[in-house]
């Protein structure tokens, strides 16, 4: 392509000259319109977000009189103190952390193992089984929701965190698929070299492939974090007693009980969102990569 650009005579139409830019960049009025649209849209998108933060710092009376304004006239940091102390916030936060971090480890382990097997250990039936994995992606979790509840009921695990943690160690088709795609793109010479060295399959996976799959592990972990941290259906099914509630479940209960104490609700919502925001700002690039990787390319 570069050669093409250089050797083109000067009389070529302007439209093709800037080959390094997409076609819509050549039109200045269009760019201005684009900019204005983006700015207006961004304002509309970020506004509820800012409004949430503004509301979380107001008094009840201030909330009633402020309407759509996000101008901070008062800073009631006390709302946050109340959010942290008026209900056992740290207990819920601990439950949320447990039901987020442990499942991430479990999913990454089980899915990378299986993904590696499907990508690199092509044996008889492996293709068929991979098709089964893909087919289970279509199965909505709701079909197995009721019998799974009975299974955990039989195991005596209702109203504990285990039903939210254990299934993660047994793989999830979507992430198996992702890891398989990632491992399949790696050069197979790696495996050959390791085999010559007399390396076992498991050691090869652990010492050669997994360290190289770091970008995939990071991206998958971040996506999983967002999913598990905000998981609501699972806790809503399995958790009854207060001591095992996760943050989203607690917030939902809080909404129905204290539905009128808006600043407190908003402060709690902000606190729950905070870890996701922090991760986003620290790992923006990995998130973008992760999302694009999952987006069907």
């Amino acid at each position: 392509m570069a050669v093409l650009v250089e050797t083109r005579p000067a009389s070529e139409p302007v439209a093709v000259r800037r080959a390094d830019r997409p076609f819509w960049r050549r039109n200045l009025p269009l760019t201005v319109v684009q900019y204005v649209l983006l700015a207006l849209g961004s304002l509309a998108f970020v506004y509820p977000f800012l409004w949430m933060i503004a509301t979380s710092l107001r008094s009840l009376a201030g909330v009633g009189s402020s309407g759509a304004s996000i101008w901070p006239r008062e800073f009631l940091w006390d709302n946050y103190t109340r959010a942290l102390t008026s209900f056992p916030f740290w207990r819920y936060a601990l439950n949320s952390v447990l039901t987020t971090l442990i499942p991430i480890v479990g999913t990454v382990l089980s899915c990378s193992l299986a993904g590696f097997a499907f990508a690199r250990l092509r044996v008889r039936f492996s293709g068929v089984i991979f098709a089964v994995v893909l087919a289970t992606m279509l199965l909505p979790g709701e079909v197995t929701m009721v019998p799974q509840f009975m299974l955990f009921n039989n195991l005596g695990m209702i109203d504990t965190l285990y039903p939210l943690i254990l299934p993660a160690f047994f793989g999830s088709p979507f992430y198996i698929f992702l890891f398989r795609q990632f491992f399949a793109r790696m050069p197979s010479e790696l495996a050959d070299a390791a085999v010559v060295d007399g390396c076992g399959w498991f050691r090869m996976f652990l010492l050669v492939y997994l360290p190289l799959a770091r970008p995939a592990v990071v991206a998958v972990s971040i996506l999983l974090f967002m999913g598990y941290w905000n998981n609501f259906l699972g806790p809503a099914i399995y958790i009854n007693s207060d001591q095992w509630k996760t943050l989203p479940l607690a917030l939902a209960g809080f909404q129905s009980v204290n539905g009128t104490d808006t600043p407190l609700l908003m402060a709690t919502s902000v606190l729950i969102t905070l870890p996701c925001l922090a991760i986003f700002f620290f790992a923006q690039k990995q998130i973008t990569n992760g999302i694009t990787f999952t987006g069907g390319r």
Partner: protein, 350 residues
């Protein structure tokens, strides 16, 4: 609880296992026993067929998934079929009732309402989200100063998800003090009741779902950046204008990504739950989403059989809608490489 498991638990308690870990003990023992058997089998197989190490490694590597598949998917599916043919409240033993649950579901007006609400949500929200995400991605696909800030801002709302998002928007759309109606009032418009109005509740949830299109936008943006520029150049040389470039290059090139996102979007939309739960089904069942109704039957009314029948209904609906979408799009989606199976075509390059 299963009596054997109860017995193991009692044993664990007498061994002074910490209370929080007691429920885990029977499960772990089961797993250890299972892996002892698998390990022995693998060892025996390796002794007998030393050259089959790759096959044995394969089965060992996928064994966690395989066990999970049997334990959490196949097993529950089979028992779900049986449970859906019974009447069961978890306390008294299940009573076989044949297809009574299914025939009840077909006559239940609330099932009809749940289906109507959920399908309307899927059919309206998915195209709107796709169109908005795609449009914004088109706008964002430039290298102007500040564009990264715009991208960040559009993506930011996706981080406020689930319960927090619903709690926020219940207040944004509060008829009296909310953000939306104050903005409308300043423009001289009397705003509707949003979530508190039965005819407005569903549109409000759809509107709310548009707030989190940032994730899809990022995907389309990456897709746009992947379109080979040579295609645009060649078409521009042939005198194609902006509109034709869009219809004949951009759209076909991105069609596989769009299809994938529409499919996952439909499946996700049919499984919407949190919004219905927080709104308690909405006024006059206007937010009675199917999964919420299922949840209500299973875990609030303890009608396990009926809930299982509903779950199978949902499964059939999801399969049907997915199949219809995939079929309908078969002629509109363009696959460049071998991603698409039979209908592959290759671009002529150079």
């Amino acid at each position: 609880m299963n009596p054997t498991i109860g017995w193991i638990r009692q044993l664990a308690e007498s061994w002074r296992v910490p209370t929080a870990l007691v429920p885990l003990v029977p499960f772990l023992l089961l797993l250890i026993a299972l892996y002892a058997v698998i390990g022995l089998a693998a060892y025996g197989a390796l002794r007998k067929w030393p050259r089959a190490d790759k096959t044995i490694a394969f089965w060992l590597f996928i064994s966690p998934w395989l066990i999970g598949f049997l334990m959490f998917t196949v097993g529950p599916m089979i028992s779900s079929v049986y449970v859906s043919l019974t009447s069961w409240d978890l306390i008294t033993p299940p009573r076989f009732v044949g297809f009574a649950n299914y025939s009840e579901a077909f006559q239940d007006p609330r099932v009809a309402q749940a289906l109507k609400v959920t399908l309307l949500y899927a059919v309206l929200s998915v195209p709107l989200q796709t169109a908005l995400a795609f449009l914004v991605a088109l706008l964002m696909n430039v290298d102007l100063p500040g564009i990264r800030l715009f991208r960040t801002i559009w993506y930011l709302p996706s981080l406020v998800s689930g319960v927090a998002q619903m709690v926020l928007f219940l207040w944004v759309f509060n008829p009296q003090y909310g953000l939306a109606n104050d903005v409308l009032a300043r423009a001289g418009i009397q705003g509707p009741g949003w979530f508190s109005d039965a005819s407005w509740a569903l549109p409000t949830v759809i509107l709310m779902s548009l707030w989190t299109v940032g994730g899809a936008m990022v995907i389309y943006l990456a897709g746009l950046k992947d379109v080979p520029l040579t295609l645009y150049e060649a078409a521009a040389l042939d005198g194609a204008g902006l509109v034709r470039l869009f219809w004949h290059i951009t759209l076909p090139q991105l069609s596989p990504i769009i299809l994938f996102n529409v499919l996952t979007g439909i499946i996700g939309a049919l499984q919407i739950f949190t919004q219905g739960f927080i709104a308690n089904g909405g006024p006059k069942d206007s937010l009675l989403f199917f999964v919420y109704y299922l949840y209500e039957n299973a875990f609030q009314n303890f009608r396990m059989g009926y809930a299982s029948a509903l779950a199978w209904m949902l499964f059939v609906i999801i399969l049907a809608l997915t199949a219809v979408t995939a079929r309908a799009s078969a002629f509109a989606v363009y696959y460049e490489t071998d991603l698409g199976g039979r209908r592959r075509r290759r671009t002529r390059k150079g």
